[in-house]
Amino acid sequence: MKVLLFAQRNLKEILRDPINLFFGLGFPLILLFLFSVINAAIPAEAGNTMFSIGKTAPGIVTFGTAFLALFSGMLLAKDRTSSFLLRLFASPMTSLDFILGYTLPILLMAAVQSVITFLAAAFLGLPLTVDTLLAVLVVLPIAVFFVGVGLLCGSFLNEKAVGGVCGALLTNLAGWFSGVWIPLELIGGPFKKTAEILPFYHGVEAAKEAIIGNLAGIMPHLLVVLGYTAVFYTLAVLAFRLKMRGEET
């Protein structure tokens, strides 16, 4: 009950901010449109499917979840610095109530964001099948990773710093190293090797495998994402509990 009330509050708090709506829903759709324009400009005889909708849509859906770190981090940082969280810490809420209350609405947003982006992609030629639903599910672990990063930053940093780390830095890292903007095969070398160590590329590849229904191809990539998710989400929970016990003061 407490979790649902708090989750509901957090969802309202995020959705009533027009900037969040733009980055959460509008920006992935703009990217999708831009890539479809680029793809249309490539002559068919070139045989280059690099920016085909089947490849860009799962990539953009995965990249879109990077903004969840910004949402969760900003919300937590605002709640902390405005003492709203202090008020709630004095209530009978438990740390689990807080963590789930911050995570669940953002995961719901991730799922809705993914569905809307895939539906938009369908208008641009992506076939909608049961594999599309699988792709939505496959995106969720990296969404949890981003929520974890956001909560970790929000536990220690103020709003401005969260905006810098989770907004500018993380979204750029996720964009470049995921291979969504420029396929990694084109760059190669240490850049590609670095990307393969980080979770962003694997998140995109898992979604790409899911959308073509290649179940065997999903797991190797998803395992890397799950590892990062476990580490960062655990760190976020520990940081939050530390704050809740007032260890920072």
Binding site: R9, R16, S83, R87, A90, S91, P92
Partner: protein, 241 residues
């Protein structure tokens, strides 16, 4: 009957002692003002009493429950209005009130009823459906205290409740606090000494983490041989350097 019994309460941060062996009893229905210059240990004391931070030593018993042994039971009986307004900015006044009522266990119908009651009591009816971020500072403060009272706490901690308010808004809030007196035990911290004179039954002055003196305004004036509370406070806080 005592609402709060504090015994040797201590909080240390590394080598710094923020609160040093605090001993104090506060009676049920009393409005107790805790004074001190910045860094004297007032907010740390309030945070320990409201189970937000754990003491390094000592204990406090609030309405029969220890903050060390049974913080969850303490939390059910108290509420806090922090220094900052501590409200959800994109929620309406009604949603803020109903949220806090729900978190303390009231069902949806009871939460709605309580929200309407508190809104009437604190003069918030006209802004009930407005997002709180558009309210004036005075209205936000009133809402903050209403949110603390919607759970029917037996002990209320008010940390600088009128900070930054204009004279009229402050007077309005004083009237609201006076209405609560005797029904709720209130611990108030403030830098406004006229507020202390207007509202409090007793005063405690903290300096460097220690409770220097406890008494009524008249007792403090008598003890320091001063003519007003400000002079008494300056004298008890160690004087102007």
């Amino acid at each position: 009957m005592n609402a709060i019994t504090i015994t040797n309460l201590t909080k240390k941060y590394g080598g710094l002692t923020a609160v040093d062996n605090l001993n104090l009893t506060i009676e049920k229905g009393e409005l107790f003002a805790l004074l001190g210059v910045n860094g004297a240990g007032k907010t740390t004391t309030l945070k320990m009493l409201s189970c937000l931070i754990r003491p390094t030593g000592g204990d406090a018993v609030l309405l029969g429950e220890s903050i060390l042994k049974n913080p969850n039971a303490v939390k059910q009986k108290i509420n806090v209005s922090p220094q900052e307004t501590a409200i959800a900015p994109n929620l309406t006044v009604f949603e803020n009130l109903a949220l806090i009522a729900g978190i303390y266990g009231q069902n949806a119908a009871a939460s709605r009823k309580s929200a309407h009651e508190m809104s009437s009591r604190f003069g918030l009816d006209d802004v009930l459906e407005k997002k709180t971020k558009v309210l004036s500072g005075g209205m936000q403060r009133r809402l903050s205290i209403a949110m603390a009272l919607i759970t029917n706490p037996q002990i209320l901690f008010l940390d600088e409740p009128t900070l930054g308010l204009d004279v009229l808004a402050r007077r309005e809030l004083w009237a609201a606090i006076r209405q609560m007196k005797t029904k709720v035990t209130i611990i108030l911290t403030t830098h406004y000494l006229e507020e202390v004179e207007a509202l409090s039954d007793r005063i405690g002055v903290m300096t460097k983490g220690r409770l220097a003196v406890v008494g009524t305004v008249a007792e403090l004036l008598l003890q320091t041989g001063t003519a007003n509370l400000e002079d008494a406070f300056v004298s008890l806080s160690g004087g102007v350097p």
